[in-house]
């Protein structure tokens, strides 16, 4: 063993051992460090990392809730969530995509373009993310797919729910739903919690107004997911809550009827209960197909809507602004009576025109109406009479009355489309036009032309408030069981005919707000309107209803688009001979039945010429239909009264 150099070896060996000792000490220190790190991560910070791990592991998917229904006054659903048959495809589960598409093309009606679009989508997505092959299959296609399902691997027939409208008769007032946009998310607070990808929200009309409540509570599914976001298994599911359903004051039958009447016209009709403001019908024409909006709009259809000069997308009853024309004469007369400017029997002579302030003001009747008092002025719609009245009254007093009756302001709550219109006066002109008021403009205002702008809804409300004896009502479209004060008062009055209550007691006992100083004035206007519709010479006499059950009292009007030139006036150019765009808008307002008013109506026909010729016949038909259904409506109303 003791070989040469063994001493050397021993020294070397000792050196090695010494240095190894140092290394071992260093190792021990590192070991302690490692254990320390483990303690820190797995004991001290375990809670933090456990929650981070769960955050990794679980992901929640929101489930779109079922949208509440919108019903008409008789509980017919006019907007509902109906089952929808869709075809989804999970590319991961399909063995041979090309083959599958060939089979699908044979079974369904899928275009080549759609197929190549789907293939592009599939390429972009993860293989387990479904693509929608068909958004809305009819039942026969859906059952055919189910029949061939065994040979269509990867295809999933899905039953979903989607907004469905029975027809397009109420498209404007109901509005439509469509996919949430980025802008919606920014502007609408309630959507931030709700936002579910692919969920439809209300964009216009009632769908928009009621959106927050009708949309329901979002449910969610919690899944365990892997690092690539693929769902591994479901952990928990919360179905959410279907949205609240709403009952409206609309009558679906009348909506359908009116819509048919207005077909192909650019027109609007509004019917209102004169005592509680219930909007029985609100139709704008031409209409559009709201169902088309639910599943992403077809471009060609959209373009056809946009390019149509009759503007099918606009709700003309709420957002169309038209000069009220002669329909305002009711308020001009009322304002003059209330302000003691004229007495009912004061007369003016109409020679067909008057000259004032160096300007000629024409009556629509070229030869003049002769001696005209208030009743005759309204009956014949004599412009000269109202020039004189307006001149004496002044625009500021007129505007005060017009505003009191609901013109110049929005009358419904939260309708994005509704516009307020204009009731001009001297202050208004100074503020918005920056000029002083000319006296001639007062005369134009007196026959509802010039700066005056109103919506058909406002004109309907105006007429309703005249019809009900001059009390303020609040138009409503959602049934809420309130608003029956005026009917209660009438009931009280009928039951106690011998002890009429003084006006101020009416106000305090029935919470009514009279719009008049003397109710007799209101009755004078109503009587004049009756003569306009039911006495020879009246502007809508030709379209009267003689059955006293249906008899209505109305006022025609036409709102000028273009001023007649002197030459046209001389040549007695007829409205019908003008180009469509230059014809006057035809207006008609009325209430019925005259003896016991229940409903007010306003009819607008864009470029319809004169109100008496085009608007009044429509009003006549609608009034008859509405009154025929009156008993039915009252019976439902009484039931609602009981239940609330």
């Amino acid at each position: 063993m003791l070989s040469p150099g063994s001493g050397n070896t021993v020294i070397k060996s000792k050196l090695i051992s010494r240095r190894m000792f140092l290394l071992t000490a260093a190792k021990a220190v590192v070991m302690v460090g490692l254990v320390g790190r483990l303690i820190s991560l797995q004991i001290n910070q375990a809670t933090k990392y456990k929650s981070l791990s769960d955050k990794n592991r679980f992901r929640e998917w929101k489930l779109a809730p079922e949208r509440g229904a919108i019903k008409d006054f008789f509980d017919t659903k006019i907007a509902s969530s109906e089952p929808l048959y869709q075809l989804h495809l999970v590319p991961e589960n399909a063995k041979d995509l090309d083959n599958l598409f060939v089979r699908l093309k044979a079974i369904l009606n899928i275009t080549d373009r759609k197929v190549s679009y789907l293939k592009r989508v599939i390429k972009k997505q993860k293989p387990w993310e479904p693509v929608i092959v068909s958004e809305n299959l009819d039942w026969s296609d859906f059952s055919r797919i189910n029949l061939f399902l065994h040979e269509l691997e990867g295809v999933e027939p899905i039953v979903s729910v989607a907004r469905t409208y029975p027809d397009n008769s109420s498209a404007h007032i109901l509005g439509y739903v469509s996919q949430i946009s980025a802008k919606d998310l920014q502007t609408k607070k309630y959507l931030q919690e709700l936002a579910v990808p692919g969920m439809a929200i209300g964009k216009t009309g009632l769908e928009r107004k009621l959106d927050e409540k009708i949309i329901g509570k979002v449910g969610y599914q919690r899944y365990e997911v892997n690092a690539f976001g693929k769902r591994i298994r479901e952990i928990k599911i919360d179905e959410g809550q279907a949205g609240k359903s709403f009952k409206t004051t609309l009558d679906y039958e009348i909506q359908k009827y009116t819509n048919k009447l207005l077909k192909d016209k650019a027109a609007a009709v509004c019917v209102m209960d004169v005592y509680n403001g219930d909007i029985v019908s609100l139709v704008s024409s031409p209409t559009f197909e709201p169902n088309e909006f639910v599943h992403g709009l077809d471009k060609a259809y959209w373009n056809s809507l946009i390019k149509n000069e009759k503007k099918p997308l606009a709700n003309k009853a709420l957002s169309g602004l038209y000069p009220p024309g002669s329909t305002i004469k009711t308020l001009v007369a009322l304002s003059a009576l209330e302000n003691k400017i004229i007495r009912p029997l004061d007369t003016f002579r109409c020679k067909g025109k008057i000259e004032l302030y160096g300007e000629k003001f024409h009556c629509w009747e070229k030869d003049g109406h002769g001696i005209v008092n208030l009743r005759r002025g309204i009956q014949r719609s004599c412009d000269v009479y109202f020039y004189e009245v307006a001149r004496k009254l002044g625009v500021d007093r007129l505007s005060e009355t017009a505003k009191r009756f609901g013109l110049g302001k929005k009358v419904l709550d939260d309708f994005i489309e509704e516009r307020s219109g204009v009731v001009p006066n001297t202050k208004w002109k100074k503020k918005f036009i920056g000029q002083n008021w000319y006296l001639g403009e007062t005369l134009h205002s007196g026959i509802g032309q010039g700066y005056f702008q109103s919506t058909p809804l406002q004109l309907c409300l105006m007429t309703a408030q005249i019809a009900n004896g001059g009390f303020e009502i609040k138009p409503r479209i959602i049934v809420d069981g309130k608003n029956d004060n005026l009917r209660n008062y009438l009931k009280h009055k009928n039951e106690n005919p011998n002890e009429p209550l003084p006006t101020d007691l009416l106000v305090s006992n029935f919470d009514l707000k009279p719009l008049f100083k003397n109710q007799e004035h209101i009755n004078l206007i109503k009587d004049a309107m009756f003569s306009s519709s039911n006495e020879p010479g009246g502007t809508s006499y030709r379209h009267r209803l003689e059955n006293p059950k249906y008899t209505f009292a109305g006022k025609t009007g036409s709102s000028q688009i273009k001023r007649f030139t002197e030459a046209q006036r001389e040549a007695e150019v007829k409205q019908e001979s003008l180009p469509y765009k230059d014809r006057d808008h035809a207006l008609f307002v009325a209430f019925a039945p005259y003896k016991n008013p229940q409903y007010a109506i306003s009819v607008l026909v864009e470029h319809g010429g004169s109100g008496g010729k085009t608007a009044a016949p429509i009003a006549k038909k609608v009034i008859k239909k509405v009154l025929e259904r009156h008993e039915l409506r009252r019976s439902v109303n009484n039931k609602i009264g009981e239940s609330v």
Binding site: N8, I16, L23, L34, L38, A46, N226
Partner: protein, 374 residues
């Protein structure tokens, strides 16, 4: 004691069998079983490709380990240089015939397996230097003349491996080589000088780094820098280990690995997976097994008479320890991700083969502890 017989180096088979370190063999075997469990979990609780092939490799190379244990230490001593040269040639072979995968050329296709010679070089370098310092006399150790060869055999393979590029393995090879030179008695000043030289060259070295390597270092310094990119691995690994808590989520219940949040779970991050499923106590158990293995190797170094054996065992123990510690520090977020397998636990044939070869030579030192090597 047993001197007369040991001189003749004619031990009976029974003697050899008795002189094996059973604590070491047992520890390795237990670690192997644990690694199979972990691999089974990475396969989602099924015997799939990784598990089956890991089991096969473990038992084949465990057998090789036992076989090598009974080969005379004298044989390993005498062939050390040859073995180094063989491994070096294999590394050169990689450079010209290697397989490229994810941007680096590390493997040789041997038809029955893909060999990663850089793993073998970890052992080859230690063997070479252990023999070298065994042979030169103590006076000459610090002579510059005798430092020349060690520097060459150290630098040459490191450059080859680093340019594959595989920075992690290159550093681990360097760690093993430096350990031998340090233990052999090379003066500290040489290490200090070369350290300074290394620092001076660092900026140049950095300019040679691949963008992904730079990003790994930056990411290590601040893992939240880019949580979905380069920092993802460190963050997810820490989440997995931390969420394991005291007792772990349970066998086959590691959500982080089961749901694929954990990267490289078969190889570099196998400890993370085990730690997530078995918690702090499980991690401690693994740490303990490795400590026992290192301790037994050092103990064999103490027992063996030859300086070759001592140098080899001490250096291998230290290198083995460094492999373990570097891997664990990496997955615990204490070091940048350099790509270093955890000995025995990680999936990978070459690493398993190299470790078993290294352990076999250690055991051979034990069996022939009293036999002079030359």
């Amino acid at each position: 004691m047993l001197q007369p017989r040991s001189i003749h180096s004619s031990l009976s088979f029974k003697d050899k069998l008795f002189s094996i370190d059973y604590v070491l063999v047992f520890s390795i075997f237990i670690l192997g079983l644990v690694s199979i469990l972990a691999m089974y979990s990475t396969d989602g609780g099924e015997f799939k490709y990784h598990t089956n092939s890991h089991i096969l490799r473990f038992f084949v190379f465990f057998g090789m380990f036992l076989f090598i244990s009974f080969v005379q230490i004298r044989f390993w001593h005498s062939t050390s240089y040859l073995i180094y040269i063989l491994f070096f040639l294999l590394l050169l072979g990689v450079k010209y015939f290697g397989l490229t995968s994810s941007g680096s050329k590390r493997w040789l296709d041997l038809y029955f397996m893909n060999l990663q010679p850089s793993e073998l070089m970890k052992i080859g370098l230690i063997m070479f230097l252990a023999k070298y310092y065994h042979r030169i006399s103590i006076e000459n150790i610090n002579h510059l003349r005798f430092l020349f060869l060690p520097i060459v055999v150290l630098i040459a393979p490191i450059i080859l491996v680093a340019t594959q590029p595989d920075l992690g393995t290159a550093l681990l090879i360097a760690a093993g080589g430096l350990t031998v030179t340090w233990l052999a008695g090379v003066r500290i000043k040489f290490f200090a000088f070369s350290g300074l030289a290394f620092l001076a060259l660092l900026p140049i070295a950095i300019s040679f780094l691949k963008p992904y390597q730079k990003s790994r270092i930056l990411t290590f310094l601040n893992p939240e820098r880019d949580p979905l990119g380069a920092g993802y691995q460190i963050i997810q690994s820490k989440i997995a280990i931390g969420s394991g808590g005291l007792f772990g989520k349970g066998f086959l219940q590691g959500s982080q690995s089961y749901l694929d949040y954990l990267p490289e779970k078969h190889t570099d991050f196998i400890f993370t997976l085990f730690s997530e499923e078995f918690g702090f106590f499980g991690s401690l158990f693994i740490l303990l097994l490795y400590a026992v293995i290192v301790w037994r190797i050092v103990k064999i170094g103490n027992l063996t008479r030859s300086n070759f054996g001592k140098l080899y065992c001490y250096s291998f123990a230290t290198a083995f320890f460094i492999y373990v510690v570097v891997n664990m520090m990496m997955v615990l977020g204490l070091l940048p991700i350099v790509g270093s397998p955890l000995p025995i636990m990680s999936y990978g044939g070459s690493s398993m083969m190299a470790i078993m070869l290294g352990l076999g030579i250690v055991m051979s030192c034990k069996v022939y502890k009293d036999t002079p090597v030359n």
